[in-house]
């Protein structure tokens, strides 16, 4: 098991190098010298520009420049944001927490709802229950996240049942940490539900297909033939086997969650990575764009890694080979 994890972690290294290379190419091929632009900006002191020049080796040959970019990336140093005049790292650190909270919340919520419904629909395949939820799933996978988000914003604008935009509405310094947490959760609710709504359909379909497939395998037939009780067959054998591929999906889901989250964040005004990269693109803040890109790729890799480790943990065929 340890060996397996180590192997997977080592496999990440070439991906990270590739990632840094892609981002380096994007920065290099962007037209215009950004430092010239910065120099014209009176708010940026010449010493800051000089500091960045040396740290990214912009006066050196291109290979050296790449190696320095790689070295800085390893230190998570993505330079200084042109627009905010603070290190990109600091900006991302502030935003990534919100995006992760949003992603984890919506994944948790969508699994919690989709898995039980999928199990029932799979068990009663072809029933009205199955047909009804399959239709809902079709609708869910066909709804673009931004449209759902806009519909929710419309709904909130009419009813004002939940707060929208930002992460908090209590700014009292004396507020207890539980109060602040509750407030944060309330703000999380709208983007979280939107994201859950968009992802739940795909999740349902996958889980239902897995369940039906496993339910028709020989080993389930053999379990019936041995006289194993129905409950045990459904929840112990079928469910656990059907959940296994979902762990791989969990890893991949992080990617689609991040994509959907970005648009949802922007529309719902949730200060996360998605709104950060948009602001960066709009203000042509290239180092901030690259920092966000690399971190988002890194999150995806970590998500896949977690999925693989979970799968190995639950599947003896991978754990013991």
């Amino acid at each position: 098991m340890k060996k397996l994890i180590l192997k997977r972690v080592l496999q990440i290294i070439p991906l990270l190098i590739g990632m840094s290379f892609v981002s380096f190419i994007i920065i290099q091929s962007s037209p215009g010298d950004y430092f010239a632009q910065m120099k014209m900006n009176p708010e940026i002191s010449p010493s800051t520009i000089e500091q960045m020049r040396t740290s990214f080796g912009l006066d050196k040959p291109i290979m050296i420049q790449y190696l320095m970019w790689l070295k800085n990336m390893c230190k998570l140093d993505f330079g200084i944001s042109f627009a905010y005049h603070i290190p990109v790292k600091t900006l991302i650190k502030f935003r990534i927490k919100n995006t992760l909270c949003l992603a984890v919340f919506s994944i948790f919520l969508s699994w919690l709802i989709a898995i039980p419904i999928a199990v029932i629909a799979g068990y009663k395949e072809g029933s009205w229950f199955d047909k009804f939820f399959s239709l809902l799933a079709y609708i869910s996978i066909s709804l673009p996240s931004f449209f759902v988000a806009l519909l929710f914003v419309y709904f909130i604008s009419k009813t004002a049942v939940l707060p929208l935009g930002g992460t908090r509405s209590i700014f009292d310094i004396n507020a207890g940490s539980f109060e602040i947490f509750k407030d944060y959760l309330k703000h999380l609710l709208v983007p979280g539900i939107v994201l859950c709504f968009v992802n739940i359909g795909g999740l349902f379909r996958l889980m239902k297909n897995n369940f039906v497939e496993i339910f028709n395998t020989p080993y389930i037939l053999a379990a019936w033939a041995r006289g194993v009780p129905a409950r045990s067959i459904i929840f112990k054998h079928t469910l656990r086997n059907a959940l296994n591929p979902m762990f791989t999906i969990l890893g991949m889901e992080i990617g689609s969650i991040l994509n959907g989250a970005a648009l949802t964040e922007i529309i719902c005004g949730w200060p996360g990575m998605g709104s950060l990269i948009l602001e960066a693109v709009l203000s042509h803040d290239l180092y901030l764009v690259m920092g966000s890109l690399i971190i988002s790729g890194f999150l995806l890799i970590v998500g896949n890694l977690i999925g693989d480790i979970l799968l190995a943990f639950f599947d003896p065929r991978i754990r013991i080979s």
């Binding site: 070439p14 991906l15 590739g18 990632m19 290379f21 892609v22 981002s23 994007i26 091929s29 962007s30 037209p31 079709y138 609708i139 996978i141 066909s142 709804l143 673009p144 931004f146 449209f147 806009l150 519909l151 914003v153 419309y154 909130i156 604008s157 009419k158 929208l164 990617g255 689609s256 991040l258 994509n259 970005a262 648009l263 922007i266 529309i267 005004g269 990575m273 998605g274 990269i277 948009l278 960066a280 693109v281 709009l282 042509h284 290239l286 764009v289 690259m290 966000s292 890109l293 988002s296 790729g297 999150l299 995806l300 890799i301």
Partner: protein, 352 residues
């Protein structure tokens, strides 16, 4: 083809309907120039955020009219932008009405519009936007832009995917290693972030044509990787088939074998893959335009019709008909999804 349609119909009536719906929708968007009641950029300065026009059959005195008609509207409350109808004159809906001159298909100029009402009244099936432009006309016109971007984008990434996937799978070895590593690295990034980063390489203020091709390029650059990986897998298995070995023993060139004997066999799958991936391109284009990074005003696209609502709760609350663009996207996507699911079964040789 008839055979295919028969199978599709047999598989499910709904998917058969989706197929024709999409064909008709594409035709409609292609002929949007002819079908719209107003030019996409024609502004009714005095009617911003006008709600969808009420189409009447019965007038104020209770008489029934065969020809549907509208009333002229005027601003009732300028703060809340509410409109009231002026019941004094009826404006029946007419066909082939005159309007400002415009270009159709960049070929000929005309003053005729398919349908409309006499000035000063206006017919706004889906309401108007901030500048008082008819959203119905903009949606139809925009669907041509959005749908063509997705089709061109998917075809380009399909060609790229065919070439790389075919080479990687057929030649294997170092070619395969290099190409697949590139694909893997591209797939490491969440597509939205990669899309924005690629967009950031270019200036924000590009001309409409430039932006159009930029979006096509960005979308196909992001999309080809997944296709390449799948085609590679298929080529890998097909190249071990007996008939390919036979072709090789006959001394056919690698190029011939790959192009004439292997890639055509991935075709039924790739048709399905294309159908399934078109929604991604539509969403990609809409998202970019929605964020103001795609198609620029005054040209409409599904995304940028929605863009005035982003971060503006009051607009959403006052003019929810702007969200109809989202509904259009949804309808197209659900039909693509239904059709894609059906094709997966219908085109699978195992199910013949």
């Amino acid at each position: 083809m008839r055979n295919f349609l028969g199978r599709l119909k047999k598989y499910s009536k709904v998917s058969y309907f989706s197929f024709w719906f999409l064909i008709i929708f594409y035709l409609v968007s292609f002929f949007a120039d002819i079908l719209i009641p107003y030019h996409f950029d024609y502004q009714f300065r005095d009617k911003p955020y006008h709600p969808p026009s009420k189409i009447h059959f019965i007038d104020t005195e209770g008489r029934f009219h065969i020809k549907p008609f509208v009333y002229e509207t005027f601003v009732d409350d300028p703060i809340f932008r509410t409109y009231k109808e002026n019941y004094s004159v009826r404006y029946p809906i007419k066909f082939l009405v005159d309007g400002p001159e415009r270009n159709v298909f960049f070929i000929f100029k005309t003053k005729k519009y398919l349908f409309g009402v006499d000035a000063p009244a206006g017919i706004f099936l889906f309401g108007t936007d901030t500048y008082g432009r008819d959203i119905f006309s903009r949606l139809l016109y925009g669907s041509r832009i959005s749908l063509s971007i997705s089709i061109i984008g998917v075809l380009i990434s399909f060609v790229l995917g065919m070439i790389t996937g075919g080479f990687a799978g057929y030649f294997g070895g170092i070619t395969d290693q290099v190409l697949m590593r590139i694909v893997e690295i591209l797939m490491v990034f969440p597509s939205f972030y990669l899309m924005l980063s690629l967009r950031a390489m270019f200036p924000l203020n590009l001309s409409s044509i430039q932006v159009y091709f930029l979006i096509v390029m960005i979308l196909s650059l992001i999309g080809w990787a997944g296709l390449a990986r799948i085609i590679r897998g298929m080529v890998l298995s097909i190249k071990e088939e007996d008939y390919v070995l036979a072709a090789r023993s006959l001394g056919l060139s690698h190029w011939r074998i790959l192009v004439f004997h292997i890639l055509p066999n991935t075709f039924s799958y790739t048709i399905t893959a294309i159908t399934i991936s078109v929604p991604g391109y539509i969403i990609g284009e809409s998202a970019l335009s929605l964020l103001g990074l795609g198609i620029q005003e005054p040209y409409p696209s599904w995304g940028n019709i929605l863009s005035s609502t982003v971060g503006n709760i009051r607009v959403i609350s006052d003019a929810p008909w702007l969200l109809l663009a989202g509904a259009f996207i949804f309808i197209i996507l659900i039909n693509f999804n239904i059709l894609g699911d059906a094709l997966r079964n219908v085109l699978d040789p195992k199910n013949w």
